[in-house]
């Protein structure tokens, strides 16, 4: 939904362009949606994409390791986040799509299309607004 509306607004010509930037369509399988609930085991605050690792309890009692792809951490760092912000052991819910490569090495992979805390709060932001951090000292913003 975002895709087509934004494309129209920005006057882009080819739908493939949106996918090309993220390349997520190349990495992830649109026919394999996942809904994961688990505890954070590690956060890789790296570029080009951060990865949040979580331990997902399986119905049979075993634990599956998943890693979920996010965006650049730099945006969050500018907003004041640091390596301790998302505590190990936090319970999160991930909606996304599994990678096309289903090998699960070193862990199963998915894109973090939407990641929230277990209670529904969005990660790293308040409950309202677009959530995008400040983009600069725009005098018009200060005047608002």
């Amino acid at each position: 939904m975002l895709g087509s509306a934004l494309l129209i607004l920005l006057g882009l010509l080819l739908p493939v362009r949106m996918e090309s930037h993220h390349s997520f369509a190349a990495e992830f399988d649109a026919d394999a949606p996942v809904l994961l609930t688990g505890k954070v085991t590690k956060v890789e605050w790296i570029n080009p994409h951060a990865w949040i690792h979580l331990a997902v309890q399986q119905p049979d009692g075993s634990v599956a390791d998943w890693m979920v792809e996010g965006g650049t951490p730099n945006t969050l760092l500018r907003a004041g986040i640091d390596k301790n912000t998302l505590a190990i052991g936090s319970e999160i819910v991930v909606r996304g799509y599994q990678s096309k490569d289903k090998a699960c090495a070193p862990a199963c992979k998915a894109n973090g299309r939407d990641v929230t805390f277990a209670d529904g709060r969005k990660l790293f932001m308040g409950s309202s607004g677009t959530g995008a951090p400040r983009d600069g000292a725009d005098p018009r913003e200060r005047a608002k």
Partner: protein, 319 residues
């Protein structure tokens, strides 16, 4: 006598503090001071959207567009409960990772609907050849046979699109540039992909077989304005694609950038691209560089590039 002196003083002070008279401070070695951390994040795209005719829109229209974009971004995070639908676009991630800017670019007091100012319709004036090259490169991108066929940003060679340029264009995030000046040099640190453009002042272009990433840049000051000329681009840098622009440029294109500091918090960034192989004319653009809050953080890309592995492995899984 005293009253005259007081009046003179008032007039002098008025002159000094008048906005029209503002000029950037000079560094100890004489160069105008352009230093700082700057951002070109803006929702104004490179090319004007089809629905919008004019380069300049009045404030009410500007607010309407900004609200529309803000609502679209809010919708990205408004994911219905439960599992996502199979067969849909896999999408990306939450907007808290993104930082595309929230405002349209304001240049010379005008709210702009495209970065491109010339041609007046705000569209890249591709020649037939240029457009054919663009389409050919997009076509090649549908597959992932080899790492060399993927985007430079995916390969972590330079940043996405024309983030480092030149011309330096905004993308979805990390639209930050730090300018450091020293005698004989202006250095621009482009956050993505930790690229330092070391611009040699008063120098000649280097010729010969070595073609650097981000081209070979030489600069000079014309009054307060830094003028940078870049050519001799790396052969792989022709195809620059991001969410907000898609540019195909010859490696022998000549890019001229002009940086003029307008205030403590703003630099006017103007550029022109001369590439008569791929375009019908020289095209030009303008946008502000605004003082950024926060600093540049390390963008070590290659070291953590699971993505390229996943792209290639994903395609192999399909094969």
């Amino acid at each position: 006598m005293i009253r005259a002196a007081a009046l003179l003083l008032v007039l002098l002070l008025a002159r000094v503090t008048s906005a029209e008279e503002w000029s950037p401070p000079r560094l100890a070695f004489g160069d105008p001071d352009l230093q700082g951390t700057w951002t070109n994040a803006t929702i104004t795209p490179l090319e004007r959207p089809d629905e919008i005719e004019a380069l300049v829109v009045p404030p009410e229209e500007g607010h309407r567009i900004e609200k529309l974009v803000a609502d679209l971004y809010a919708a990205v995070d408004d994911v219905p409960a439960g599992k996502l639908e199979a067969g849909e676009d896999v999408g990306g991630y939450n907007t808290f990772w993104m930082d595309p800017g929230k405002r349209l670019a304001v240049v010379r007091g005008e709210i702009r609907t495209s970065i491109i100012t010339d041609p007046p319709d705000g569209e890249l004036p591709y020649s037939l050849r240029g457009r054919a090259q663009l389409v050919k490169r997009f076509w090649r991108l549908r597959k992932a046979d080899d790492p060399e066929t993927r985007l430079l940003g995916e390969r972590c060679l330079v940043g996405f699109g024309s983030s480092g340029g030149p011309p330096m264009l905004p993308v979805l995030y990390n639209n930050n540039y730090q300018i450091v000046q020293s005698p004989g040099f202006v250095t621009i640190l482009v956050e993505m992909n930790h690229n330092a453009r070391i611009i040699r002042l008063g120098a000649q272009h280097r010729q010969g077989p070595i073609r650097p990433w981000l081209g070979d840049s030489v600069g000079r000051f014309e009054g307060q304005t830094l003028v940078v000329e870049t050519t001799h681009f790396h052969p792989a840098q022709s195809f620059r694609v991001s969410l907000t622009h898609a540019v195909y440029m010859s490696t022998d294109a000549k890019v001229v950038e002009r940086f003029t500091r307008l205030s403590a918090k703003e630099i006017l960034y103007e550029f022109s691209v001369e590439d008569l192989e791929n375009y019908r004319q020289i095209w030009k653009g303008e946008m502000p560089l605004l003082a950024a809050e926060g600093r540049i953080f390390e963008y070590a890309c290659h070291e953590g590039n699971y993505s390229l592995t996943n792209i290639l492995a994903g395609e192999r899984a399909k094969d």
